[in-house]
């Protein structure tokens, strides 16, 4: 693997349909005439702009819906070589899973046609195959359909689910991902719907609380996947926790190793120390709220629990939490910076996936 390629990779930029009418134009009947919540509907939202200044498109089209504008921002102004696009949607929160699957199918077609196969930045965009965990057969079909697309580089699942991702119900998705040779990125689904309350104690009362809390939801999925033996069953599986909060990995893996070890006899299908299942299976997108800030120990903290080999820079463009490389701690070593800004992405996605034209 050529890790000195110097590629700068934005591992998580978000794209949208222009508006509801645009989405409907991609849908067949009977779904086309159905109703579903708009993508920005939520009880908890920041007071003030939801999207970063300058990301607005003309004619009231949704931020992140114009490939040329987004490409100019990501590649022109910010100097990245590649951006992995993760379409945002509320589809997996819709009770009628047929509707959810249809919206994601439309989303994948829009992503391929509009962003990956046409336009001046197509060669620099990479895509996410969005699938619905409430429809396992449909999810597997969608993966099969897109897996050979040269610019689809990952599978996308929601952070909010009915059951944790360790449950065997999800195995067909992991199997399909491994067969396709693609990592699975898990990202906070927009809006509300058929999700459990966002905290163990019900809804948060402020956005500050809600917005800082929800990305940590990965903890439950990961702590469940390890003893359920998912990484034993699927040794090739790679998970990308795309909302950040990788900092939580350190205390929770200390605890999982210390407390979990005496429990190993209960789970002979996952016999190794829990932390043995982290490396090469788990990656994180870095977010605006991550890390100790510009503390002098930021580099040491990144090293702990192997986070420096798991973290990938992701801008979250065009969200208000837009991150820039200038926001990264100055105490990181040059090598840590290179890993986060590109080398770890190369190890997740494979250089040929990223550089193929």
């Amino acid at each position: 693997m050529n890790v000195s390629s110097g590629l700068l990779v934005d591992a998580s930029a978000h794209i949208f349909f222009e508006n509801d009418k645009d989405l409907r134009s991609y849908l067949p009947e009977p779904v086309k005439s159905r109703g579903w919540p708009a993508v920005d509907v939520a009880l908890a939202a920041p007071i003030g702009p939801k999207y970063a200044t300058g990301t607005q498109c003309s004619d009231g089209r949704h931020p992140g819906s114009d490939p040329e504008l987004a490409g100019a921002h990501l590649f022109g102004e910010r100097g990245f070589d590649l951006a992995v696009l993760h379409p945002m949607s509320g589809a997996t929160n819709v009770p009628d899973w047929h509707v959810g699957t249809a919206i994601l199918n439309a989303t994948n077609r829009m992503l391929a046609e509009r962003w990956l196969e046409s336009g001046i930045y197509a060669q620099q965009f990479r895509g996410t195959i969005r699938v619905n965990p409430n429809d396992i057969d449909g999810a597997v079909r969608e993966i099969e359909h897109w897996k050979n697309h040269p610019r689809m580089v990952q599978i996308g699942l929601p952070l909010q689910t009915q059951m944790p991702y360790g449950r065997p119900y999800y195995d067909p998705i992991w199997r399909a991902a491994c067969n396709a040779g693609l990592p699975v990125a898990v990202h906070w689904e927009m809006g509300m719907g058929i999700t459990h309350p966002p905290t163990p104690s019900g809804p948060a009362r402020t956005y500050a609380h809600h917005g800082a809390y929800v990305p940590m939801t990965f903890v439950w999925h990961l702590l469940n996947m390890i003893p359920e033996g998912v990484f034993e069953k699927f040794p090739e599986l790679k998970m990308i926790w795309a909302d950040g909060a990788a900092d939580m990995l350190t205390p929770f893996m200390w605890r999982m190793d210390t407390f979990g070890r005496p429990h190993l006899e209960q789970t002979p299908w996952a016999p190794r120390m829990p932390s043995d299942y982290l490396l090469s299976h788990n990656y994180f997108v870095h977010s605006l709220m991550d890390g100790p800030g510009d503390a002098d120990f930021a580099g040491e903290w990144l090293r702990m629990t192997g986070k420096e080999d798991m973290l990938m820079f992701g801008s979250s463009y065009p969200d208000w939490q837009l991150v820039s490389p200038e926001d990264l701690p100055t105490a990181w070593s040059e090598q840590q910076r290179r890993k986060v800004l590109g080398e770890n992405a190369i190890s997740v996605f494979g250089l040929d996936q990223l550089t193929r034209v």
Partner: protein, 458 residues
Amino acid sequence: MTIALNRHHATFDLATTTPVRVVDTDVHPSPKFGELAPFIPEPFRTRFAKRGEGAGSGVYYDAPDFAHAMAMRVDSYPDDGNFAGSDPDLLFQQLIMEAGSDIAILGPTNGSPGQTEEEVHALAVATNLWQDECWLSTEVNWHRRFRGSIVAAIEDPAAAAREIETWAGHEYFSQVLINAEMRPAWGDPRYDVVWAAAARHDIPVACHLSRGRYNELPMSPVGFMTYNHDLMVSYSMLAANQVMSLIFDGVFDRFPTLKIVFIEHAFNWILPLMWRMDAMYAKHGVPETGLKRKPSDYVKSNIWFTTQPLDYPEDKLELTNALEWMEADKVLLFSSDYPHWTFDDPRWVAKHMPEHMREAIMFQNAIELFHLPKEVPALPGQKRALGVITYISRGTENDARGVLARFGVSGTVVRTIESDEEVFTVSLSQETRGQVAESRLHTALEAALNAEVRIISA
């Protein structure tokens, strides 16, 4: 037993005192069979009795070897057939005399099961009367080493506040104890009456990790966990949420003197959570929440965590660094979790704390927080855990051999010191290693030795 004689405090010299060097903030007494019932008001007493008829174990998430130990230290069961932690004299002997906890703050967790707010409250009332009579009386607490908890049903805030008023000022009740799992989270104004009562009496409010029989089992935002370990480890996320709710919903601005103690929720997560809350506050928190200070400031002035379970990485220097970065001397209180199987010995915990923080964490913070005496009547023969810091572990090679014998295997045991840490290397034949459940053996050895254990092939 000499202790039985000492129950007659007239024969005991209370005037000779000794400095408190270890305050243990997580100790679990439990009622002997039938001991609680007389304190439960009707109609609940009859209702609970009926419900209990023919009912067996209520465990859903089971600790290792549950069928044998029921998640308790096996040596903590009294000879009379009652449950671990039910005999005040045995608890005193094992925890105060032998382990060297100078003061034990009792946190009974039998008050949590209940189907309705009224039931939880009835159990709280009974548990307080029971503590007062069976644990904190002059007869039982002759040594003045036990403190109790005002169990309060946060499920019914007004009743909880009344219960606090009833017992506040009692010489031996040191904290309020509430359940952790109520919805909504604690920032909701409906709980203000509880915080107000606690703040009025300057008594800390503690909550212990639980199993949620009031709200059924604890459920995450992504559904139920599968095993005891993914449940218990992820349970800290519930505490993290309560911390965020208390802070972002302004509870500490409304009650600046309120003190909250998280018992057995682990604590290392507070370090990155403080960064995370501060980052959100800087970006988006000021106009929405109107907080007067940044979130990590409230953590350091109003919130405490107990040390057990002390989780650690392979490289313990990382733990030392984390303790420094989080300013552990401002947020930690020592706890052992006696009589649970996860018991942490005070000397073992002390040696993991940076030296300049050791006294704050082992006793000073707790003395200040709970208004405890700095001196207590001396107990001849009590093991002193702190004072001269000892690096000699509780266990010996013989203890290790005893554990091996219990597993029906033999091997050689070598004790070495590696950078001040004691390490026991146990060599087993390849054949023997195939016969035993090794992680169970490893755990049993660690519990007996309170030191690092390595099992290798002979």
